[in-house]
Amino acid sequence: MNQYKTTIGIEVHAELKTKSKMFSDSANNYGKMANTCTNVIDLGYPGTLPTINEKAIELALRAALVLHCKINKVMHFDRKNYFYPDNPKNYQITQNRTPIGIDGYVEITINNVPKKIRIHDIHIEEDTCKSIHSNNKSLLDFNRAGVPLVEIVTEADMNSAEEAMAYLEKLRELLLYADVSDCKIEEGSMRCDCNVSVSKTETYGTKIEVKNIGSISNVGVAIDYEKARQISLLEKGQVLKEETRRFDDKTNSTILMRVKETGNDYRYFPEPDIPFIELTDEYIEEVAKNIPMTAEKRREIYLNNGISEVNVKKIIQNRTISDYLNKFINQNLNLVIASNLLLGDITAYINKYEIPLEKTALTDEKFIDIVTCLDTGKINSKIFKEILEDVMEQDLPVEKILENHGVREMSEEELSEIINKVLENNEQSVSDYKKGNERAIKYLMGQIMKETKGNANPNTIVEKLESKLKE
């Protein structure tokens, strides 16, 4: 008997990171008091007309470029007509005929096998207003109405929950790193709708849309649930109807919202209030040039610099750290040490005191000094922990901070004196070593370190100790 094959297509709405809205200059703010970030355009007042947010066009173009799309260099907007209370004009301004980007792709990797998920198109549109429901009433907040969005539509190229999640993780990373959107699913600035169907043949099965999924992992849960649900219905001999369902995170299941009417009749037509928009080659080039480095590229650089895969993953997950680290690429700095510091003690400090990295007293210069000190063995990580708070809080150079902590580099003579003293007091260990007990040197090392109070470079100590023992 044939296996069921699952087919998944995904539509993602991502809010663009702009100050003002797409077609009006009211604030694009999240979390403000209801209906305080609006103007007559957002409320769909009679007589109002749209204008175009320059930054939104730039961010949408960035997104189209990182998704490897072909760009519609002369584009226009269209009206999508449908009556719904969250849609203030009862038409939404979107791009139907000339989406800003078409025919792109996102590459995902599962078990080291790469796969391209094709992007059908990416288009610009305005967000709807937010609604809350209680009993027999719904309440509308127009603060979100008109927030710029891109909608990214894939081909039905995914075949498992795992692939769908990998696609969403990758897409999120792309948009986040291109500074297109902050992609906060929990705040609704990134929203995913999945179209899931199952079939035993080459023909696609009946498409079921699942909306309202609040996290990427829940996308996986929702798809697996749908797959099982649809197969079980088909096995019972039932016929599926095209419908829209919503994910319920309390029961980890999907619930019917509505059965689709015969073909949505959105009565699209070109928006006459907005003349064509031209994206010149020079403009596209300029926008491409200003896209921050992709996560992919960062990953490659970090790995080439010897940072472990585990740490690379952690860095990529934290954009602030990655951006900070990137300042020191090509500066002949030990990036392994630098990343360890950032992920370890510095992150711990930031989390403990809840202040952002850029608000601390840590300058690029100080960071370079510390990494260099650790790299050359001038200080060890124990000393670094001791001075950490001062480094993060005092506007003093590292040298001065070390001095304040009584940390200074020992002279050759001082070190030699200490080594000699330790060797004299530990004759047993010296003879053990000479008999071939390698471990004895570790003990001696520890004693010397203790005496130097960490003020000597361990590499230098080892060097000197070994030569003395050979005497």
Binding site: P46, R267, P272
Partner: protein, 483 residues
């Protein structure tokens, strides 16, 4: 009551400057005129308290421009902050805009005094102003006749000399056709010349605001003030500043003028054709070169207009749903009932017909067979006009096929209202400027108008010819003979 408002603006301006009259004199006279001519039903809302207050405020201000303290009437589809704006619809019967249209800002900047909001067809849909929720305005030349539409109230109040200035809007002839029926000067400027921000949209790619006045000079001078790029309207055009009055009074000798053959066929009443031909002869005698031409698809313009205007209107008027403003059906059972009953009760018949057909035009495959096709042919019409303007300075024709008809005529035929605008609609299709200038009267003393069409952004040349005709014919355009 004194009669200053019948003077030319230049004379009123002089009197104001010399402090021989006060702004309040003008405002009081305007309201007195309106009161005495209540039967015309030209206004939906009067701005009496504010106008008087403003007139008093202006008393001590410097008379800084020609339009200072001049009463102006505004068509009721242009948003005026804190002044009711109804679109002549039950839907907006109690609607108070919270912002001013850009043209209103300009009018206020020039210290004009808004007297009131004029009657019109509901949402500007109609050619007679009879679709108004507030009853039709009447034609001052014969109160049994229509004033035309949709800017019928504006035409009526200028014609009756209630106020000297009015704004109208023109989607498919709605300034020029009532101007013709009522015997005044009405200009629909080039699409994009005047900001549409604050004009309640009917057909977005067709709508344009324009001045309606007693004479050509004042029309051109008012356009000087209304026009200009507006950051709030992407379709408004950035142009070098120009003076539309600059060619007024110049000799018309050597002008090349074209007449589309379609404009002088038997669709036009005989009396109108006669007056038109007399004017053509006058132009020829004075050195104009007049030729007859063809414009592609001009005979299809009404069909294209119906498709585009109804299609766009169905979308533009979707926002009237009883949720954020306007009439709202009380205690609806559910959302569907809120929508469908609000719109059933809030809209009149003409509007409902057009919205329904407009929705059908954009529905499914129809969007291609009707709307897209109309846009394609529309492009051809425009190109054909522009080609003609490579050779000719102006294109002329009669403005209307008939004179103003009885208020009780043609009420049953939903198509008739479109045919009233058959000669003016092609101009909206092409986005060109067009103006009505009165050229005489029929045997019943009803006005007949000439339509002058210019190349895009060449309103100046239109005014040049219009002023020549005005001066040469020297008609008495005051329905009461100018007592």
């Amino acid at each position: 009551m004194s009669k200053y408002l019948n003077l030319e603006l230049k004379e009123i301006n002089k009197l104001l400057k010399e402090r021989k009259i006060k702004p309040l004199d003008l405002v009081e006279e305007a309201f007195d005129n309106i009161e005495k001519n209540k039967d015309l039903n030209a206004f939906i809302t009067l701005n009496k308290d504010q106008a008087i207050k403003m007139a008093k405020d202006l008393e001590n201000k410097e008379v800084d421009n020609l339009f200072f303290a001049i009463p102006i009437a505004i068509k009721d589809n242009i948003c005026t902050k804190d002044l009711r704006t109804t679109c002549a619809s039950k839907m907006l019967e109690n609607f108070i805009p919270v912002y001013d249209a850009t043209v209103i800002e300009k009018i206020k900047q020039h210290n004009m005094i808004i007297i009131g909001k004029t009657n019109m067809d509901e949402f500007a849909m109609g050619s007679t102003s009879r679709t108004s929720y507030f009853g039709p305005p009447k034609n001052p030349w014969d109160e049994n006749k229509i004033a035309g539409g949709s800017s019928g109230g504006s035409a009526s109040c200028i014609s009756a000399r209630l106020v000297p200035l009015a704004l109208g809007t023109d989607t498919g002839g709605s300034i020029r056709q009532p101007a013709s029926y009522c015997g005044l000067v009405g200009m629909k400027p080039t699409y994009g010349r005047i900001s549409r921000y604050g004009l309640i949209a009917f057909g977005s790619s067709l709508d344009q605001i324009g001045p309606m006045t007693r004479n050509v000079y004042e029309n051109a001078a008012l356009l000087n003030i209304l026009c200009g790029k507006d950051e709030k309207d992407l379709t408004s055009t950035r142009r070098e500043k120009e003076d539309f009055t600059s060619l007024i009074g110049e000799d018309i000798k050597g002008m090349n003028i074209a007449i589309p053959k379609y404009f002088v066929t038997d669709i036009v009443e005989k009396e109108i054709l006669e007056k038109f031909n007399n004017t053509v002869n006058l132009l020829k005698e004075n050195g104009c070169n007049v030729e007859y031409i063809d414009i592609d698809y001009i005979e299809n313009a009404v069909t294209l207009y119906q498709i585009i205007a109804m299609g766009e209107a169905s979308s533009n008027l979707a926002r009237f749903d009883g949720i954020r403003y306007g009439y709202s059906y009380e205690n609806p059972k559910n959302l569907e009932e809120l929508y469908s009953k609000t719109r059933q009760i809030g809209f009149g018949d003409e509007v409902k017909r057009r919205i329904m057909v407009g929705s059908l035009i954009l529905s499914g495959e129809n969007a291609k067979t009707y709307y897209d096709k109309a846009l394609r042919i529309r492009d051809d019409i425009r190109k054909s006009f522009l080609k003609a303007f490579e050779k000719y300075d102006l294109i002329i024709g009669p403005t209307t096929t008939t004179v103003a008809y009885n208020l009780t005529d043609n009420l049953d035929d939903p198509s008739k209202t479109f045919l009233d605008d058959i000669l003016v609609i092609p101009v909206n299709m092409a986005g060109l400027p067009g103006l009505n200038i009165p050229i005489g009267f029929n045997k019943d003393k009803l006005p007949i108008g000439l339509h002058i069409i210019g190349n895009e952004f060449d309103e100046k040349t239109i005014y040049k010819l219009a002023s020549y005709i005005e001066k040469t014919l020297n008609l008495n355009l005051n329905p009461k003979g100018g007592e």
